[in-house]
C-alpha cells in the first residue's frame, strides 16, 4: 500500500471515530471527561503503534530516516515538528489581544522558511550529514566549532522542550483533570516510545500522523463558525467583514458612558494599588500581588480605541515609531530563528535528494501556512463573539460558553459598576488561550469537538517535543560522545547511549517542567534569537562564502551569542535599552555582529585549506559526478543551455 493511501485511510478512520464519539455523546450522554480520556488514549495509542512498527537499529534510519522521506511527507512532518503548543493554543489568542503588532509572529514564523529554502535547506541536504554540528565540524574543521554548535543546539532546544512538556501537562490536566505532574509523565510515554524505538524514522511518521490530527482539529471549529455566520465555510475570506464590525464596535465601546464609568473604576483600582506600593513597608510577596492587581486593573481600564474620536480601534492600528521598529525587529528575529533552529534544519537531511529537499521546504511552508493563515481569523471571530454576544447581556443570563469555561480560570466576568449588565471592561482575560480552547463551545458545537481540539493541542506539543528530544540526544551522543570523546565507539554502543540519553533528557525536562517556572514561556521566544544569532550566520557564511574560516566562525558564533545574551538579560532584568528594542528581538543586534565578526576575523586570518573549499564547492552543485547528457525518457537535454 502506498504512503498516500495509508495516511488517507488513517485520516478517514480518525474522522470516523470522532463522529462515532459524537454520536455516543448525543445518544448516551457520554461525559466530557470520558471524551477527553478516549481522545488522549486513542491518539497516544496511535503514536505508540507507529513507534513500534517503525522501530530500527540502522544508523541511517535512526538519524535521518534512511534519507527516504518523500517531499510531501517531510513537509507534513516539518509542519508538526515546527508548530508547537504555542502556535496551536496560544497564537490566535495573542493575535486577538495584540492586534496588528501580533502579526509579527505570523509573518516571522512563515517568512523564515524562505531564508531556509534559498540559503540552507538544499545545501545541507547536499552535504548530507546527520546533525547540524556535523556540518559546522566539517566546514570549520576541528572540534571547537562543533562544540559551540552542540552548546547552542542544546541551549535552544532544551528551553523549547520544557515549554512543550509544560503544554502537554496543561492540556492533560485541563481536559482530563489529572494532576499536572502526572499529565506531564503520561504525555512523555507517547514521545519516548517513538524516539527511543525508531529515532528519526519513527519520529517522522508519527509527526505526519500528528500533523493530520492537529490541522483537522484547528480548522473544524472556525470553519463551522464562519459557515454559521456567513454561510461561507472559508473563514479566511469572511473575517474581513468582522474586522469592520469589530472596529465600529470598539469605537462605540470607547464612547459609551457606562463603559467609561467601568473603566474609571478600574483606573481607580490601579491607582490605589500603585499608591500602596509607593508607601513602602510591604514584604516582597505583597508587592508582587499588588503589582499584578495594578497591571490587571490598568489593562481593564484601557479603552479598545485610542480615543473618543479615533477612526479605528487599537486592534487594527499600525504601530509607529518605536512600536514599528519593534514590530520589524521581532519579525526579523523570528525569521532568522526559524531558519536557524536545529530540529527543523535536521528534517531536510531526511529527503532522498536535493530536488526533494527544495520541494519539501515548499510543502513544509504550505502545511504551516494552512494554520497560520487561519489564526488571525480565529482572533477576529473571538473578538466579534465577545463584542456582539457578550457585551450588553445581563449578568444573570450569560452565554453558555462563558458559564462552561469560567471555572477553568482563563477569564472572568466581573460586574464592576454593579449595573447587572456586562460591559467590555467587565470581561477580564487571564489567559488568551481561551480563544482556541473555547471556540467549539462558542460555535455551539458538541463537546466532542472540544475533545478533538485537545487531541490537536496534544499532537502539536508532542510532535515538537519529539523533534527537540532527538536533536538534544543526538547532540550529546553523536556530536559530543562519538565525534569528540570516543570516535572508535561501536554502532551498538552509540545507539544505546542515544536511547539512554533520550530517556534521561525527557525525564529531566519533565522534572523541570513540574516546577512551573513562569519564565519558560519567555525563554522560548529567546530561543529564536539565540538560534538566529548563533547558527544562522555561521551556516549561511559556511555555504555562501568560501573564505569564511574556522577562527572567523568560532569567534563570530561566540560574539553573536554573547551580544544577544547580553541584551536579553540586560533588557529583561537590568533596564538596558538600545533604541527601545524589546527583549525578544535581541538577535536584531546579535545577528549583524555575528556576520560582521565572521567576515572581519576570517579576512584577518588565513584562508581555509583547499579541501574545505572543495567541500563548499561540492555543496553548491547537487550530487557531484552525477551529470548525464541524456534523459532516460529519450529526450535530448541541452547541457548548460541557458
Amino acid at each position: 500500500m502506498s504512503l498516500a493511501k495509508i495516511f488517507g485511510l488513517y485520516t478517514i478512520c480518525f474522522l470516523g471515530v470522532t463522529i462515532l464519539i459524537g454520536i455516543a455523546e448525543q445518544l448516551f450522554g457520554l461525559s466530557p471527561q470520558w471524551i477527553g480520556w478516549i481522545f488522549m488514549g486513542l491518539s497516544l495509542g496511535i503514536y505508540v503503534v507507529i513507534g513500534i512498527i517503525t522501530r530500527t537499529s540502522n544508523p541511517d534510519q535512526y538519524y535521518v530516516a534512511g534519507r527516504g522521506v518523500p517531499a510531501v511527507f517531510n513537509g507534513m512532518a516539518t509542519g508538526s515538528d515546527w508548530m508547537s503548543a504555542a502556535s496551536f493554543i496560544s497564537m490566535a489568542g495573542a493575535l486577538s489581544a495584540q492586534g496588528f503588532a501580533g502579526l509579527a509572529y505570523v509573518m516571522g514564523w512563515t517568512g523564515g522558511y524562505l531564508l531556509l529554502a534559498v540559503f540552507l535547506g538544499p545545501y545541507l541536504r547536499q552535504f548530507g550529514a546527520y546533525t547540524i554540528p556535523d556540518f559546522l565540524g566539517a566546514r570549520y574543521g576541528g572540534h571547537f566549532a562543533r562544540v559551540i554548535g552542540v552548546v547552542a543546539a542544546i541551549a535552544c532546544s532544551f528551553t523549547y522542550l520544557i515549554a512543550q512538556v509544560t503544554g502537554v501537562g496543561l492540556i492533560v490536566s485541563r481536559f482530563i483533570g489529572l494532576d499536572f505532574s502526572i499529565g506531564v509523565f503520561v504525555g512523555l510515554i507517547g514521545v519516548l516510545f517513538c524516539s527511543v524505538l525508531g529515532g528519526m524514522k519513527s519520529v517522522t511518521w508519527t509527526q505526519v500522523a500528528q500533523y493530520i490530527i492537529l490541522i483537522v482539529s484547528y480548522l473544524v471549529p472556525v470553519v463551522y463558525l464562519s459557515y454559521q455566520l456567513f454561510a461561507i465555510p472559508v473563514p479566511e475570506l469572511t473575517y474581513g467583514r468582522l474586522l469592520q464590525t469589530n472596529n465600529t464596535k470598539a469605537i462605540e465601546i470607547t464612547r459609551d458612558a457606562k463603559e467609561k464609568e467601568t473603566r474609571a473604576l478600574w483606573k481607580k483600582d490601579a491607582d490605589e494599588a500603585n499608591a500602596k506600593i509607593k508607601m513602602g513597608n510591604l514584604n516582597d510577596a505583597e508587592v508582587d500581588k499588588l503589582k499584578a492587581a495594578a497591571k490587571l486593573a490598568s489593562q481593564q481600564a484601557t479603552a479598545p480605541a485610542a480615543s473618543d474620536d479615533a477612526k479605528i480601534g487599537r486592534y487594527l492600528t499600525v504601530p509607529s515609531g518605536v512600536g514599528m521598529w519593534n514590530f520589524l525587529a521581532l519579525t526579523f528575529c523570528l525569521m532568522v530563528g526559524t531558519a536557524g533552529l536545529p530540529h527543523i534544519l535536521t528534517r531536510y537531511y531526511t529527503t532522498p535528494s536535493v530536488r526533494e529537499a527544495r520541494t519539501s521546504v515548499a510543502w513544509s511552508l504550505f502545511f504551516i501556512f494552512l494554520l497560520y493563515f487561519t489564526a488571525p481569523a480565529y482572533a477576529a471571530f473571538a473578538r466579534f463573539v465577545i463584542y456582539a454576544k457578550l457585551v450588553g447581556t445581563q449578568i444573570a443570563d450569560l452565554p453558555r460558553w462563558i458559564t462552561l469555561w469560567q471555572p477553568a480560570g482563563l477569564f472572568d466576568v466581573i460586574d464592576k459598576n454593579g449595573d447587572g449588565i456586562v460591559q467590555w471592561a467587565d470581561f477580564v482575560v487571564k489567559s488568551t488561550d481561551f480563544v482556541v480552547l473555547s471556540m467549539p463551545e462558542v460555535a455551539g458545537l458538541p463537546f466532542v469537538i472540544t475533545g478533538l481540539v485537545m487531541a490537536g493541542g496534544l499532537a502539536a506539543a508532542l510532535s515538537t517535543a519529539d523533534g527537540l528530544l532527538l536533536t538534544i540526544a543526538n547532540a550529546f551522543s553523536h556530536d559530543l560522545y562519538y565525534n569528540v570523546i570516543d570516535p572508535k565507539a561501536s554502532l551498538t554502543k552509540r545507539l544505546t547511549i542515544t536511547k539512554i540519553l533520550l530517556v534521561v533528557t525527557a525525564l529531566v525536562a519533565a522534572w523541570v517542567a513540574t516546577f512551573r517556572v513562569a519564565i519558560i514561556v519567555e525563554l522560548v521566544a529567546w530561543a529564536f534569537s539565540l538560534a538566529g544569532a548563533s547558527f544562522f550566520p555561521a551556516l549561511v557564511m559556511g555555504i555562501w562564502w568560501k573564505r569564511a574560516n574556522k577562527t572567523g566562525a568560532c569567534v563570530g558564533m561566540i560574539a553573536g551569542l554573547a551580544v544577544t545574551a547580553y541584551y536579553m538579560i540586560g533588557s529583561r532584568f537590568y533596564g538596558v535599552s538600545w533604541f527601545g528594542t524589546q527583549t525578544i528581538a535581541s538577535a536584531a543586534f546579535g545577528l549583524p555582529v555575528g556576520f560582521i565578526t565572521i567576515w572581519i576575523v576570517s579576512l584577518m586570518t588565513e584562508a581555509p585549506p583547499q579541501q574545505v573549499q572543495d567541500l563548499v564547492t561540492s555543496v553548491r552543485y547537487p550530487k557531484s559526478g552525477q551529470a548525464v547528457t541524456g534523459d532516460p525518457l529519450g529526450r535530448d537535454l541541452p547541457v548548460g543551455a541557458h
Binding site: 524562505l114 514599528m324 527544495r358 501556512f369 552525477q626 548548460g640
Partner: protein
Amino acid sequence: MADLTEEQKKSYWHYNVTLTTVLLVIWFVVTYLISGLWAGWLNQFSFLGFPLGYYMAAQGSLAIFVIEIAVYAYLMNKHDLNYGIREEG
C-alpha cells in the same frame, strides 16, 4: 561535478545567485515595506473587506512566501535538469 566545465559551473551558480537575489528582494519588500512601514498608509484601501495593510501582513505576505518557495523549487529543479544534473534516489 566532473562532467561540467568550469564555465558551466559558473553559469549554473550565477543563475542560482540571481534567482535567490530576486526572491529575497521580493521577500524584503513584502515583509518590511508593504506589511511593515507602508501598512498604515495601505490600510486606507480595502481588499475583500479587509484594510489592505492588515490583509498583507495577515494573509498576503504568507501566500507570497509559499509561492516564492514553490517557484524556487520548480525553477532550480528545472535548472538542474538543464545542466544534466540528475540525482539518484
